[in-house]
Amino acid sequence: MNRFEPRIIAFLCNWCSYVAADAAGVARLTQLPNVRVIRVNCSGMVDPSYVMKAFADGADGVLIGGCHPGDCHYISGNIKTLRRSFLLKSLLRELGVEDGRFRLEWIAASEGPRYAKVVNEMVEEIRSLGPYVPPQRRSAKGAA
């Protein structure tokens, strides 16, 4: 079995997306096994360095899940995440991280099915992108 199994880190907010992931579990919504969840209070606490760290340590994708705009448990933390995500994305592009590897999704507590869908979609997309190789290693490979 040589299929590429990407490793994806998901930062899920405690109030919406983490609950949605639980709800997907309660409803036994089958998911691909590639996502590893880290629970945070709010998507707004996900420091861009966490995302960079995950890629640096070998993750092939990173998902941030927050409450829908307007529904944030902390009033507007999700909006701040959104604002940061644009710069983060362009920074990731510089590092050779394709857009499909990083996702920011609004998933409400009631949206278990959506969570499962996002997970499966993302795994498939990253599978098609192949493993993430940081630039140094890439050039090293090129030299070899």
């Binding site: 992931a21 639980d22 096994p33 709010c42 966490y50 340590d57």
Partner: protein, 1117 residues
Amino acid sequence: MKKVGVYICHCGTNIGGKVDCARVAEELGAEMEHVAVSRHYKYMCSEPGQKMIRDDIAELGLDYVVEASCSPKMHEPTFRNAVSQAGMNQYNFEMVNIREHCSWVLEDEEAATHKAKDLVRGAISRVVHHQPLKGSTTSVNPKVLVLGAGIAGITAAIKIANAGYQVYLVEREEIIGGKMAQFDKTFPTLDCSGCILTPKTSEVGRHPNIEILTKSEIMEVTGFVGNFNVRVLQKPRYVSLETCTGCGDCEEVCPIDVSSPFELGMTTRHPISRPFPQAIPNKYSIMRAGMPPCQAACPAGVNVQGYMTLAGVGRFDQALTLIRERMPFASVCGRICVRPCEDACKRGQIDAPSAICYTKRFLGDRDRELGLEQNPPLKERREEKVAVIGSGPSGLSAAYFLTLEGYQVTIFEKLPVMGGMLAVGIPDYRLPRDVLDHEIRNVLNMGVQVKTGVTFGKDITFDSLDQDGFKAVYLATGLHVNRRLNVEGEDLDGVGGGVEMLRNYTLGEEVKIGKTAVVIGGGNVALDVARSAIRLGAETVVLACLESREEMPAWEREIEEGLEEGLILHNSWGPTRFLGENGKISGVEFKRCTSVFDESGRFNPAYDESECMELKCDTVLVAIGQSSDGDIIGGLGLELAPGGRIAADPDTLATSRPGVFCGGDGMLGPATFVQAVSHGRQAALSIHHYIEHGGLRPVEMKERPVDKDLKESERVRAKPVERGRMPMLAPEERKHSFDAIELGFTEEMAKAEGQRCLSCGICCQCGECVRKCGPQAIDLSEKEKIRDLDVGAIVVATGVDIFDAKQYPEYGFGKYPDVITNLQFERLCNASGPTSGRVVRPSNGEVPQSVVFIQCVGSRDPAKGKEYCSKVCCMVSAKQLSIFKHHNPDGQAYVFYIDNRTGGKGYEEFLRRAIEEENAQYIRGRVAKVFEEGGRLVVRGENSLAGGPVEVEADLVVLATGLTAQQDYMNVSRALNLATDKNGFFIELHPKLGPVETSLSGIYLAGAAQGPKDIPESVAQGGAAAGEVLTLFSIGQVEIEPTTAQLNERLCTGCKTCEGLCAYDAISFSEQTKLAVINAALCQGCGTCAAACPAAAIAVAHYTPDQIFAQIEGILA
């Protein structure tokens, strides 16, 4: 060396069936440093499991514990508690979710084991970075807010109040009781709903610890468990709960009937009423939807719906008095107003707007003809004197409203006549002199002094008025100077100003009009000038203007009437020069105007110089606008606005000189009559406030207007009456005289017109009830109020709505009157309902012989309705058919059902009785269609047990409509930050173990807001929620999580990035230290500041970067 204990739970086979727990425990125990012990067990949450951890901590001296099982949402508190009992800080514990996130959602056992191992490895790697933390405690405010006063909310409220705590019971409707108050009998005992509910509601009503807030909704909730602040919007009842005696006198005089929401449209009610005689609070209240569009559109804010309604019932005197509360000139306004009210009238969305202006004119004319002077009552006479400069509509109105307020007003007028433009600018055929004079006299008779022939700035000044003891001045000098075209030949003999011509004619001075007159201008004044020229004997009158016909600012009606009278129109022409012979005008040369306004909508005409036209004439009247007398205005020493008009505040009309106010055309530029009147009233209010209190008045809050779009409920109120047509003089008759063209409405026409009103505001605030009310309990000016309530806990008991049966058009609900919902059936059998408890056909009032119940309308139907079972409908229909049979023992009941779901104590037995004793025919199958045939309804469906189609004739069809979440559940969900499921029901903490708790501590659920429930379940939940609240109050303290933001002062650069990001204002900047300061009491621990800090000087305790980094490393290792 740090010691970590690792425990993997099998959760029976929930985890163990997929994840090789033993392998995870063994491999990680071997691989990872720090792991002192690694075990797996069937049920870690059980007492032996917890004891295993406690023993290990004691015996092996563990520093940290990692436990992998279900979601931390479920058992994190359990294990935190367990490690605490063994003396470990609870924050040295980390929980891993390998059930919801792993074993339950993965198919492959190897993959599941692999994933579980990654997750546990991440936790072990992370936990060694954890710090022991200690939360602080704060006391609980022992007050509770119960949201929703149905049976669940009432139960919770009474129990908590009986325990001695203060309860705020917040209810959206005007009474408490919820859906249960609408029911007739309850299953399975068939005891009367009212008889078991009303003792409860009356107990709430008189309970010293319960405050009921009716017509109230929550807007915003801040704070946390133990100390919430809830902002409540309290809509006006308009009737004082303290003073109302419930006598019902008000209801008798109310002129309006609207569909009753409590009776689900099966009867009408007056806007002032109470839903049923035993309601709590047992007081009246008024249904008001908001300000009707007509009133909202009227610059003067005249209560149009009010006087139209009163006219509709023939109370003409009261109608006129109501007009004169805001508009002193009913007859004048009825003739010349631009009628923004009629443009806004929602009746116009059905056929034609109400003829509001003609009705108002009738009311004013009737007053004059009968010699009445219906005015609002004058207040006590005051000593202060006020000067009004100018006797136009604005000045007269200011004088009128100031006099009503008691002031002694003197009007100073430059011209020899009063009325301003009304007198000298509007020709008699539109506004006859005697009509105007009568209404001016009405104002003067109230005690207003007048001095005509006095020019402000020459004969009198601010200083002279001051010396004469005037406390305030209102400048309403208008615009009386003709604007000039500034083209060649404008000073030729025969070229004159239109406004001057109108004024000279009115004042009896000589007016020379030749045979051929050209009028220049496209507004209403130009039309007045042109039509006057026709009447003054001109054989040919041509009107030329820059605008195309569609763009002309004049009213279409005026243009049409002018054309009927022989007026010739030349659109899109601009004058280039006036041609003369011997100093006399002989013609006008025009060039083509290609556009009047530029792209940004400003007046900036463009011409095609190559296309020219010449008109021969002997008279030219220029009517392109007016301006104020610059000489006088400039010399007053007041601040001026761009354009040379006096600058004044748009709301208070205050000028730069204290005590001097300015309004009307002189301040606005060319405006309308009704705007001038509006300014008169605003000035009067400002002057009253200025004299009474000094300074400027606060601007009044306006009532929220109703929706502009026509609603179904309004459409059904439309009586089939056509808009009245104004009787008019024929064009030939009117051409040669200044006689009034419009002849006026008759009494019958005015009455019919009043009845066309749709009552968009519901209550029309006509004031009939106010005048009738003995104890004076009614205040129509009551406004929305905001209450800020501090409470320690919140119970959400907002209940359910009923599924909209119109989603199934094939059942004919809304089409056939004898197809009703089961809630409507409750009202039919209810003794206080629309039929006093007689079960009859709504169409004809006859007793039905055959009644068909259709089950699952909107339930168990993911395609068209809701996926879920509404749970109560099977029993409701069994109950209702039993009641029907008790009313009519010879009748026959049929039930089309999918399955009978009658779980519950005594429920199945009740169903059996309905089938066996009441002989109800239960047909298993769906209904395809309900239709009418020969005056009877026919229900066509299938019988899935017998096989094949079946048709049943019915006199009455009852739809067992499902229960849905409240339509506005999102408002509550947003305000509380409370999660809902996809159907809009609030999510409980745990489906089995936390049915009334939510994920937000201190907020509890009760009743059907959490999901469809019957009465006993709702009551049980109300009690359970009360139990939770009382437990919280009894503990009296809550722990505040220590997971707040922490500042590393050594790293902080004082850049203030964090300060603006904090949604809780928990971060400030210290000017002394030049560093950020975090207020831990306000911090909620969201971590936005930490993520944004460019110096990484902020970290949220328990979520620090080193902890998260370690977890990432562990997972990906």
